[in-house]
């Protein structure tokens, strides 16, 4: 425990370096803005802005992107409450009670509760993160290629078992992401693979950012254009010190349920397919279950705003736990962060703790600071963020499209990748309209090369015997859980039929 406190102290000092503090402020502000805009969430912001992080050292870069992630979780509530449109799917549950409160002229009360609850969720989860990360990373050091592969199978199985989407479409999404990751030079034999039409641009493979920006930049904006047609109405927010002070007193009504929701949200966030959206819904459900007045939920109960916000913030920190300790992302946003770490020359996984402690503990330290910074920024500038929402969509959309184009060009500096990004964006839009989940594809393209390498190394070691995955206790456990998870929807269906 003492060692953890010493390392955390060093991490906090690292996070307080001027460049890192600047990144925290910038990231939190950008995250709040991105989260507040309908249709845009942390994943869009992180995907679109990752290319510009080449400007700073890796620690500052991950701190910047993690701060965006954090800020966006706070910001999602702003549009849920004032527009009635969730800033991101993670803030869907915030609309249930946030919108009625805004319609009753209490938008400021709802926004304050959202900010304070996000802070509670963030604080509880970052403490849990600090406690769980080092032992998990130490445990993961025992993993060899079979365990690594089994862990990735487990990550993909959670999408099938817990994702809640159409199963064949989810499987298709995972597999196409993995196939796209194989394009280019084979990592073991060095032979070119799947080079369509002998186009040389495919030789360097498909950078995960090309798919991520295509889907979460171009595809998402086209989707938002369809959903909103650019027409939204903003509820006005009146804010003053007196009102803020009065609103802060509401905390006694929701501190208990938000704390519980935060802990649950954290653990839900660590599961790859679950993430912040189900965490916020579960937290909302818990608050309603334990409420003395459950009937008031959905009609403007302040605890109904606080609970999902605490849950989604806690889950966002939770999703970083498997990313940092195991090299398995817990959400689409952390999948992109993980890809970024590979670009910066780091190998995500347990060795990060021993090889780059300043990076890991700097990130953990920054989470504590970012949590406080986002709370203060949020409370101080709520009217400014609300004002930004009045920006016409016809200004926001071209800016995002342009950032996508230059962001798609930056990693490899070829127009080939920009065209691919555009194609992925359009294809992602059409697939999404038919309920094909796109997040598994992004996770798969990031994990694809690691999964293939560990599979081939394992098979080579066992002379082609696939039983290697069930003969070793750790990998056998992961595979068993993966099989159970993959079969879970079938069991659920059979139980429903028999009932």
């Amino acid at each position: 425990m003492d060692t953890v406190l010493v390392l955390l102290g060093a991490g906090l000092l690292e996070a307080m370096q001027p460049i890192n503090l600047l990144m925290i402020f910038l990231g939190c502000t950008i995250g709040l803005l991105i989260g507040a805009m309908p249709g845009l969430g942390s994943v869009n912001g992180v995907a679109i802005l990752l290319p510009i992080t080449f400007l700073v050292p890796p620690t500052a870069a991950i701190i910047f992107l993690a701060a965006i992630y954090y800020g966006a979780m706070y910001g999602g509530a702003i549009s849920s409450i004032t527009l009635g449109i969730p800033g991101a799917s993670t803030a869907v549950a915030t609309v249930f009670d946030g919108r009625p409160l805004a319609q009753a002229g209490k938008a400021d009360r709802a926004l304050t509760a959202a900010a304070v609850a996000s802070f509670i969720g963030g604080t509880i989860s970052v403490v849990l993160f600090t406690l769980f990360a080092p032992p998990l990373a130490e445990f993961a050091l025992k993993f060899g290629p079979p365990e690594e592969f089994a862990l990735m199978v487990l990550a993909f199985a959670t999408f099938i078992g817990l994702g809640g989407d159409d199963i064949p479409k989810t499987i298709f999404s995972i597999l196409i992401g993995l196939v796209l990751a194989t394009i280019g030079l084979d990592i073991i034999s060095g032979k070119p693979r799947l080079i369509f039409g002998d186009i040389s641009g495919f030789l360097h493979g498909i950078n995960f950012l090309v798919l991520a920006i295509g889907i979460y930049g171009i595809g998402e904006m086209l989707w938002t254009l369809e959903q909103t047609q650019g027409k939204v109405t903003v509820h006005k927010v009146k804010m003053s010190f007196a009102r803020l002070f009065r609103n802060l007193q509401d905390v006694r009504h929701y501190i208990g349920t938000t704390s519980l929701g935060s802990a649950v949200g954290y653990f839900v966030g660590t599961l790859p397919a679950a993430g912040a959206t189900p965490a916020s819904l579960m937290s909302y459900g818990l608050a309603k279950t334990f409420s003395r007045d459950p009937d008031s939920f959905g009609k403007g109960n302040i605890a109904g705003v606080a609970a999902p916000e605490a849950g989604n913030n806690a889950a966002s920190t939770g999703s970083m736990l498997p990313m940092i300790t195991l090299g398995i992302p817990g959400s689409p946003t952390t999948a992109i962060l993980l890809g970024g770490m590979i670009i910066w020359g780091l190998r995500p996984g347990p060795l990060l703790f021993t090889e780059h402690p300043d990076f890991v503990w700097g990130l953990i330290g920054s989470l504590y600071i970012a949590n406080l910074v986002t709370l203060l920024l949020n409370l101080a500038f709520i009217p400014v963020f609300v004002k930004v929402l009045t920006m016409p969509f016809t200004i926001l959309a071209p800016v995002i499209f342009i950032l996508c184009v230059v962001g798609g060009f930056a990693p490899t500096q070829t127009m080939h990748d920009v065209w691919l990004m555009f194609l992925f964006g359009v294809a992602g839009y059409f697939l999404r309209k038919l309920n094909y989940p796109v997040a598994p594809a992004v996770l798969a393209i990031v994990l694809g090369p690691l999964a293939e390498r560990s599979l081939r190394q394992s098979l080579l070691a066992s002379q082609g015997d696939p039983l290697i995955f069930v003969e070793r206790p750790l990998s056998a456990t992961c595979i068993a859980i993966a099989v159970l998870l993959a079969c879970y929807p079938l069991v659920r269906k059979l139980r429903r039929r028999s009932a």
Partner: protein, 168 residues
């Protein structure tokens, strides 16, 4: 086209794409190479086969009308949606196409003019400010700060005075 028809078309397209990927993977060794493990085509081949099976499952579910999409008789894309989404997609397409001929910055100016003035119907003043400010911001961020040169094609000589200022 109804959502149900679109589901069928997409199922067929994904199945065909999977077969294409299987054929392409099979051009490499998909078997076991002694001392080197699985051939380089094995992993993508089996993944593509999985994609094909998932696509067939979607088509079977379409036939049995299991999913909401396979039952929906709603329009896949209304006229308004096609116009809103299609115009933006076409604008990006021409932005990329024009970049090959006149470079990115000149294309950005045309793209912004079109988007802000003709789609957004903003004032000439706002359109003018943003049409200049956004490419300047992109130039400063990418070329000056990140040192990533963006494509300029035949407009490159126009940037020589700026390069002189940047690197002097």
């Amino acid at each position: 086209m109804t959502v149900r028809t679109a589901e069928l078309v997409m199922g067929i397209l994904t199945a065909l794409a999977s077969i294409g990927l299987m054929v392409k993977s099979a051009e490499l060794n998909i078997g076991w190479i002694e001392g080197r493990g699985p051939g380089s085509g094995a992993w993508p081949f089996w993944l593509s086969l999985g994609m094909l099976l998932a696509s067939v499952a979607t088509l079977v579910r379409w036939f049995l009308r299991v999913t909401p999409e396979s039952r929906s008789t709603e329009s896949y894309m209304t006229r308004d949606t096609a116009l809103a989404v299609g115009t933006s997609a076409a604008a990006i397409f021409f932005l990329l196409l024009a970049t090959h001929f006149i470079g990115l910055y000149a294309s950005l100016i045309l793209f912004l003019l079109f988007y802000l003035k003709f789609i957004g119907r903003h004032s000439w003043r706002l359109t003018g400010i943003l049409t200049i400010a956004i490419p300047v911001f992109i130039f400063c961020l990418f070329e000056w700060a990140l040192k990533i040169p963006l494509p300029k094609e035949f407009t490159e000589p126009l940037f020589y005075p700026v390069y002189d200022l940047m690197y002097s």
